[in-house]
Structures are given as C-alpha cells and as structure tokens.
Assembly symmetry: C2
Amino acid sequence: MQPQIDAADSVRRWDDVKVEQIAEGIERQMIVGEKLMVCRLRFRPHVVTAVHSHPHEQLTLVEKGRVRFTIGGSERIVAPGDVLHFAPDVPHGATMLDEEVVLIDIFTPLREEFLPAR
Amino acid sequence: MQPQIDAADSVRRWDDVKVEQIAEGIERQMIVGEKLMVCRLRFRPHVVTAVHSHPHEQLTLVEKGRVRFTIGGSERIVAPGDVLHFAPDVPHGATMLDEEVVLIDIFTPLREEFLPAR
C-alpha cells in the first residue's frame, strides 16, 4: 500500500527556510532529502571561498551575480543562467565579483557535515 | 595525481543547451552528471502531466508560473520560490495554471530513459 503522503509536507518555500550565517558574508539555507540536498547560498560581494573538494557530486545554478570560479586549476567567470558541474573530488573555489551573489548548490549524497548533529 | 580539468568543460549556459519538445506544450533541457541530473522544463499554460512515479529521488524548483501539484493523493498550488521534494516512488502530477511555467527538476540517480540511446 502506498504510504500516506501529505502534499504540504513535500513543499517548502525558500522564504520560510532557516537562514544560517556560516561565515562572514555567507548565508546558507538547506532543503534536505534522502540522497539529494539543495543549498541556497547568498554571498556578499568580494567574498572568497577557498579551493576545496569533496567526494559528493555537485551541480551549481547561478541565480544572481557574477563569480570567478577556479575549477581543477583553471578559471572561469560565470553569471546567471550558468550551471556548473563538479564531479566527485574535483577541486573548486569561488571569488564573488562586485555584486551580491546567489548560488543554488545541489549535492548527492548528502553533505552530512552540513547537518545538525543527530 | 589530480586529473586535468578544464573549467570550461564544467560550465554550461541554459541558453546553449539543446531544447527538446517532449510533448505538446512541454520543452525540456538537460544537464547530465554521473548520478545527478538537472532538467529545465518549460510548459504552456494549462498543460497537465499525468500522475506518475519513479524510483529516482526528485527535487523541483519552481522558477516561473503557478502549478497545481497532486502529490500522493493530496493537492497543493505552488509558485516561484517553492521547492518540492519527491521521495522515491511517491506519485506526483502537475497541472499548469493560467501562465507559462518553468520548473527545474533535479534527479538522482539519472533518469536513464531520458537519455539518448548509448
């Protein structure tokens, strides 16, 4: 038998999702599934995120602002409408240019280290 | 040694991604990773997608327009800024209301049936 699903439980609004300040000039919201999660990140202009890597696969949608990405040793400036794909373990970092930036980061599996201790 | 990654290979623009008409009034674009894929779907007003389910986990971002979703037997109207989560095998269907709709569907694993035969 199909388990009972209430549509209301399946829908979230970004406006109602808790905003965490995770570093100076960086705010993060998260919607977490089973093996899929989406993070909405808001960055102040000129914020730099250090080059890092993780075993999780990542897609990033650029919603607002221009960003210089370093990806595996080369660079690329991205803008709204661009989509980035990071295979597992590919090093990447970002430098926000001169405006506020909003990125949608999608991961599989979950970034467990982002979640509250359970 | 880290494999050589060219940043340009990691970035796509929606404007440059092939648009497929998959049904009357439905256009789909896809960006495909290893276990993660994102589909941008554009629907004409009033298009209905039948209730269906799949073993893939899904997140849907509402980018444009209002949609009445049926999810596991109940209904909910969503709008831009809403995010839907469908656990594996949860039945869902959508009725576009009176304007064009753009949805971003994210899946893990890949919807192999969407891909060209390989």
